[in-house]
Symmetry: C3
Subunit: 163 residues, 3 copies
Amino acid sequence: LRIGEGWDTHALVVGRPLVLGGVTIPHSHGLLGHSDADALLHAITDALLGAAGLGDIGRHFPDTDPAFAGADSAVLLQEAARRVRAAGWLPVNVDSTIVAQAPKMAPHIAAMRERIAALLGLAEAAVNVKAKTAEKMGPVGEGRSIETRAVCLLVRASGATSS
Amino acid sequence: LRIGEGWDTHALVVGRPLVLGGVTIPHSHGLLGHSDADALLHAITDALLGAAGLGDIGRHFPDTDPAFAGADSAVLLQEAARRVRAAGWLPVNVDSTIVAQAPKMAPHIAAMRERIAALLGLAEAAVNVKAKTAEKMGPVGEGRSIETRAVCLLVRASGATSS
Amino acid sequence: LRIGEGWDTHALVVGRPLVLGGVTIPHSHGLLGHSDADALLHAITDALLGAAGLGDIGRHFPDTDPAFAGADSAVLLQEAARRVRAAGWLPVNVDSTIVAQAPKMAPHIAAMRERIAALLGLAEAAVNVKAKTAEKMGPVGEGRSIETRAVCLLVRASGATSS
Ligand SMILES: [Mg+2]
Ligand SMILES: [Mg+2]
Ligand SMILES: [Mg+2]
């Protein structure tokens, strides 16, 4: 067994779509970044890579690499999960939190969960997405950014060498 | 096995009691919220629900519901733990951190731990509460809020269907 | 099995060395603290103590104790790991994140990982260090501080009494 954690933040700006958990959410602002800036998928990607001892998203998908400009973070998560499996690990479950002052995330949580479960080949019961505000304080609370957090549990794939 | 994580923040204001980990702490300020605003119990509640794949505290106990105005977060945590057990999971351990610039938490940690263990039906050795300051920076460091963090591990209840 | 989490922050100031993950990193600023202020080792220390139900770094190594002025956090981590083992637990893996706007952490990650693994008696594959910026927002993003996060998994030492 292995556990991993991930954290991410991106700035909220006008003129970008808001993509979180692989779902596009109608909103006045979107997240700024080299890729689609899906902070939730980035935190989950980091938790998976971290648990497997494979470094971080920046090492696997450098944001200085033009190949990843505007990248679909869902594709990056799938590729990270493939590398985690190639290292002999299978995801057991993922839990995560979006911290955002707006918009309301509740209407979109079910779609995010379904999307993340499909990307990871997990049952929906093994994927969880929570949402909080920052109570109007700090960069998130002032509507300048969104933060995300994730943890995951991995188990050795049967047939993989024990370590 | 399943793992979950939780995070919470509430603003510190005058004229409210400071309740953390189910313990009332003498202080000039208290946490603002719809319930008693016990940020530590909220983070632990979210970690339990998250690990079990049951969503989050806001879905189970909406802060727009008058039934939860001034609610005792200890009652909400117990009810969340009941729902987690009903879904076939038992808590193994909980670890958590309070980030607060003031007051000193150390004198109250033992009481919080005892209270949380009793609420969850866990041995005290399986519940841990840590405390940090934010080194006088950001909303927490400026004394405007308190943040909390928690993780938990769940195991399948014997007799429950494997999943 | 037990899981634990840790979080830390220290202010970045001129005139101090920057020590993270037991590695001294060339930089214009360093972290301010009673010890060497190695925020990454502090978060990992807290995750280990928290998983074992042993409280926190402040209880074991009070920053009001002159014995720990300028202390090498690597020595404190080793002593914490000794106390965790004495309580009957062995570390399985550690995952962690440094959140810093500057300097670039990537060139130093391998050395940190090697150092932490050696301090904990773990294989390097069981230790992971990730790095992120705070996207220029908040105390970390404005270059005023560095934040760190860690999780760890413990297993009962063979021969230890089950609990
Ligand atoms: Mg990102
Ligand atoms: Mg709350
Ligand atoms: Mg520290």
